[in-house]
Amino acid sequence: MDLSEINFAVLVASLVVASTPLVLAALGELIVEKSGVLNLGVEGMMIIGAVTGFIVGVETGSAYIGMMAAAMAGALLSLLFAFIILIMQANQVASGLALTIFGLGIAALMGHPYTGIKSPQISTISIPFISEIPVLGTMFFQHDLIVYLSLISVLVIWYFLNRMRAGLILRSVGEDHDVAHSLGYRVVTIRFLAITFGGAMAGVGGGYLSLVRVPQWTEGMTAGAGWIALALVVFSGWRPFRLLIGAYIFGGITILQLNLQAIGVNINIALLSMAPYLATILALVVISISRFRGNRGAPGCLGRSFVKIT
């Protein structure tokens, strides 16, 4: 056992890659929840994104076109959810779960002819000058476009929610949809947009899995990433920067576990592999206990259907 054998710069670089799908999907869900909608279908939208992105990527030979297709597929599936809960006023929890199960099933069907095929590659873009900074450059500035996109998204979403009027309107819809409605804001339209954005982000997260991180298509390859993304939103207290840190911790546990094994540390692998999922369950319990909501930053109307009072 020799800890110096672990290259920490490379370790951080690979945990950034491992966490990127989580960051993307969780950011999308953050916006959805801020608008007062709880979409438990993240896993389903991710896997649809993964399979569509992979298929389109293979057929067109361009991973970027694949990524765009992944976003569209995620958004399309989320529209179904939006229709059911906003227009048909169905229960959000049940509809979200159904979305996950539906997504996993249809992705398996679509992806069946595509198992064991190589995907087109996305090249990494080293940012001039800063990528040459020792350690830090390796960690954060020698990645592919999507990683940078995820980092920029964190900034943009923080700015949108805290510094822009549109973000304030979105939050007000999530806090109290009746008041927002009486002020003249279109609750249903705003939620539609938020849900679609969340779907697109989850789709890109899935596409990143199948096109960059693995890169291959396998049935059920999201392996619970969507649920971890959901939990991350709660952990972060609905704050974008905390969400980013949380995602890197989640991704870090996996990568660290592998690194420790390779240098021969005797650790309980089962326990470490279990940790992210245990934390997820805890977070999902917290989300369901309403009295935590007030002081943890959860939107007041999270998960409640909006019925127009005329």
């Binding site: 054998e5 672990i6 290259n7 490379v10 370790l11 690979s14 491992a18 199960i101 996993l104 099933g105 398996a108 069946h112 198992t115 064991g116 190589k118 590659q121 899995l209 991180r213 693995v214 890169p215 291959q216 396998t218 049935e219 059920g220 390859m221 392996a223 619970g224 649920w227 996996t254 990568i255 592998l258 690194n259 094994q261 390779a262 240098i263 021969g264 005797n266 692998i269 089962a270 592999s273 999922y277």
Partner: protein, 360 residues
């Protein structure tokens, strides 16, 4: 969650199988196969499916084969096999280690159905097992790995800590050490046979820690893809995987099940099939095949590798020939002594020189 989804998809597949099997055309003899992953994995399952197709080809209309993919190693396996037996299967090939107890349970309920279980050790009157001496192939690739590494660090992505996998690590290590005394092994256990994301992460980790040759005992081709990208070497597992890494792919240990499957089905139809048998064949019988050697391997190393292959096939060479000590330094084999099958089948220790512990 994962378990839940597995269970869910398995029950879905189960239902779809009931539908498909009920409309199947009746042939004289029906043979079922269950796979742990998809036949499109280009690895373990792919080769079993090659064997199944060889049965189709050998017997034509006389034999009908059915298969079920992605069957979890749990009670679901019992359900799938029960359904196969109920729908008239005469012989069932269960092609993964974890199907062992389900096979024994189902075999009790259907004494007339013949069961063939891959890589297990439990038999019954209507259950035989078969396994390949993959470790013989690992001697060949271990030698090549030892010669090809420049960093003297060889990475090994392992699945579950069962004797078959431990045997492979030991065999590869002994051959690599002989070829290159400075060689060091780094082993990562990922506790799955098939999860491309985990396999890729493990390979990336090993490469980041200096490994420039990666061996794998997991089923997908993800590691080959990663190795190609990183510019390091790897070996195909179960199937030729050169399509995924033309530069990285040095050679492959290919599983040759076809002759065995055809022979067993023939015996089953003729009534000469026997239960309780344990087949354990290697390079000599064609159950383990060394694939094409990449031209990146120097001619002298190619020649040495082929000499090891041919020696093992002819029986003049054994992967485990003494003197060999166990990891803790206690003697295992005396000079010139070779390992007995019993120890090999139950191997639960590293040989001397490998660092780290086998997870419990």
């Amino acid at each position: 969650m994962r378990q839940f989804m597995k269970y869910f998809s398995a029950s879905f597949l189960f239902i779809s199988m009931v539908i498909t099997s009920s409309i199947a055309i009746a042939a004289d003899y029906k043979v079922g196969f269950i796979y742990i992953g998809p036949p499109g994995d280009h690895g373990w399952n792919y080769q079993h499916d090659v064997g199944r197709k060889a049965v189709d080809e050998a017997f034509g209309d006389k034999v009908e084969t059915v298969f079920q993919e992605n069957v979890p190693e749990s009670a679901d396996a019992e359900r799938v096999m029960t359904q196969m037996a109920l729908s008239g299967a005469d012989m069932i090939f269960a092609t993964s280690f974890g199907y062992m107890d389900p096979v024994i349970n189902v075999a009790k309920k259907f004494p007339k159905v013949k069961f063939e279980h891959a890589t297990g050790y439990k038999t019954a009157d209507n259950v035989s097992t078969y396994s390949a001496r993959f470790y013989e192939g690992r001697s060949v690739v271990g030698h090549i790995a030892g010669k090809m590494t420049k960093s003297n660090t060889i990475g090994y992505v392992a699945s579950f800590p069962i004797p078959e996998v431990v045997r492979g690590i030991n065999s590869a290590y002994l051959a690599a050490k002989k070829a290159n005394p400075n060689v060091e092994f780094k082993v990562i256990w990922i506790f799955t046979w098939y999860d491309p994301a985990k396999e890729a992460d493990a390979a990336k980790t090993l490469i980041s820690q200096g490994a420039d040759v990666i061996l794998q005992h997991v089923d997908s081709s993800a590691i080959m893809t990663v190795a190609e990208e990183a510019g390091v070497y790897a070996f195909g597992q179960a199937s030729d995987m050169s399509a995924f890494g033309p530069n990285a792919h040095l050679t492959a240990i290919i599983n040759g099940w076809a002759p065995y499957y055809v022979e067993k089905v023939k015996q089953g139809m003729a009534g000469t099939w026997k239960g309780g048998e344990q087949t354990f064949d290697g390079i000599g019988a064609g159950m383990v095949i060394i694939g094409d050697l990449n031209d990146k391997i120097p001619a002298s190393v190619k020649k040495e590798a082929m000499a090891i292959r041919d020696g093992i096939a002819a029986g003049t060479l054994h992967s485990f020939t003494g003197p060999i000590n166990k990891q803790d330094g206690s003697p295992w084999l005396k000079a010139g002594e070779t390992a007995d099958v019993g120890t090999l089948l139950g191997m639960n220790f590293y040989v001397e020189g490998i660092e780290g512990d086998i997870p419990k």
